[in-house]
Homo-oligomer: 244 residues x 2
């Protein structure tokens, strides 16, 4: 057993998942941050933590699923297929984000959600959210906050990553990926084909620009699918780009 300090009066009464939720490092930023300890006790048996490898679908577009998910670690991408048949990544989710919220409305998932890195999720049945929401607590508001955050992310994706010169779009993408860096400061460096699906360009163009930025020492590969960024150089490059 762990030497983790647990209040004595509760030591034997708590479910392992309840302890996990109480100790969850993203709890304050996550959906159930508004719940108290009593609330946590009610939910522990229904929430499942799961870990996924990269490129594993969390859910598919069109299916009405029974659960939402909180991202505890890693990056998840949302994909759509255009009328012409090619994939387009429309948004990313990272630590603390809630994904698959449309399931709460009994709607089919709007996108395909796929892991980009190793990902840790908390799977939350929608029936649980329904119960907690009926109490008239802070949960509905918290859910609306999540929706607004997702909307904001999608709109800024349009504004920042969908127009302008290819080099500038790549730079802005790197800036965004820096927000999802892990504790060691390593970012997820997408495959060239994924960069293409995010920024609306071909793999060749993505490759040329990443190579160029590597030669400029803005980004340097670090492990498989990882990289380190020189934030100073990145901001400098962006400033030069936006000066036009």
């Amino acid at each position: 057993m762990s030497a983790h300090p647990i209040p004595l009066y509760r030591q034997d009464e708590r479910h392992p998942q309840a302890r996990a939720c109480a100790a969850c490092e993203v709890r304050s930023a996550a959906l159930f941050g508004v719940l108290d300890e009593g609330g946590l006790d009610r939910i522990h048996t229904h929430i499942a933590g799961l870990t996924l490898e990269p490129d594993i679908p969390v859910y598919g577009r069109g299916s009405a699923g029974p659960a939402v998910y909180t991202v505890r670690a890693g990056v998840v991408r949302f994909e759509r297929t255009t009328a012409r048949g090619d994939r387009r990544i429309v948004r990313l989710a990272g630590r603390g984000d809630l994904i698959g919220q449309e399931a709460l409305l009994r709607r089919p998932y709007a996108d395909e959600a796929i892991t980009c890195t190793p990902v840790q999720l908390c799977r939350i049945p929608i029936t649980l959210i329904d119960e907690l929401g009926q109490d008239g607590g802070a949960l509905p508001r918290e859910l609306m906050q999540r929706w607004q955050s997702a909307l904001d992310a999608a709109e800024s994706w349009v504004a920042e990553l969908s127009s302008g010169l290819a080099r500038r779009r790549v730079l802005r993408l790197l800036l965004r990926l820096a927000d999802h860096a892990d504790e060691a400061g390593t970012i997820w460096l997408p495959r060239r084909e994924e960069i293409g699906a995010m920024l609306g360009m071909t793999v060749e163009t993505a490759s040329r620009l990443v190579s160029q930025l590597r030669r400029e020492a803005v980004v340097q590969p670090f492990g498989p699918r990882g990289a380190r960024l020189d934030m100073t150089a990145l901001h400098e490059a962006l400033r030069a780009e936006d000066a036009a």
Copy 2:
């Protein structure tokens, strides 16, 4: 306004705005469609209908406003300014849509909302939504539906209108504008500069492509800022474009 004067002219014992709300042609599709007649009686005095000319800002980005709006007629666009300083239209709203929802969360408006056509709005104070939401009725769920719709619109904007050849993007935009056609079947035909801000292209390119489609009889101007579409030709052109 805490104490409003009770109208003396209550011929049918209902406030004029209550009658207006009850008779509202978008009510079933709009936010308060879930309220019964009694609920409508409670809200009538607080909701204001307003009519705006084209190119009038409804609210600005950054300011935390006291109201949300339901679009009763016309088209509203959401704009952002990129780091380089140019405008980008990230989403449209039309009849039945709710706009400015972030005000409910006491957050500043995320975008600049500007009328594209003559627009009729219903202005709803956020305090009113708060009161109605405390009853634990269907309103919170209805609000979440609105958020999801907005998110869906923003994501499909990325997927459909932000990549591919310029001609295809213009065709898809026309298809989308057809959803906002008025009762006479006339669509709003944006200025070329607005098309550019929506699709990430220059005014010249937008002009060339619209002219081309006009020569192909896919679209024909109809009144100021208006047009008629040949939907058959439009779908045909899209099919040819997506065949690649």
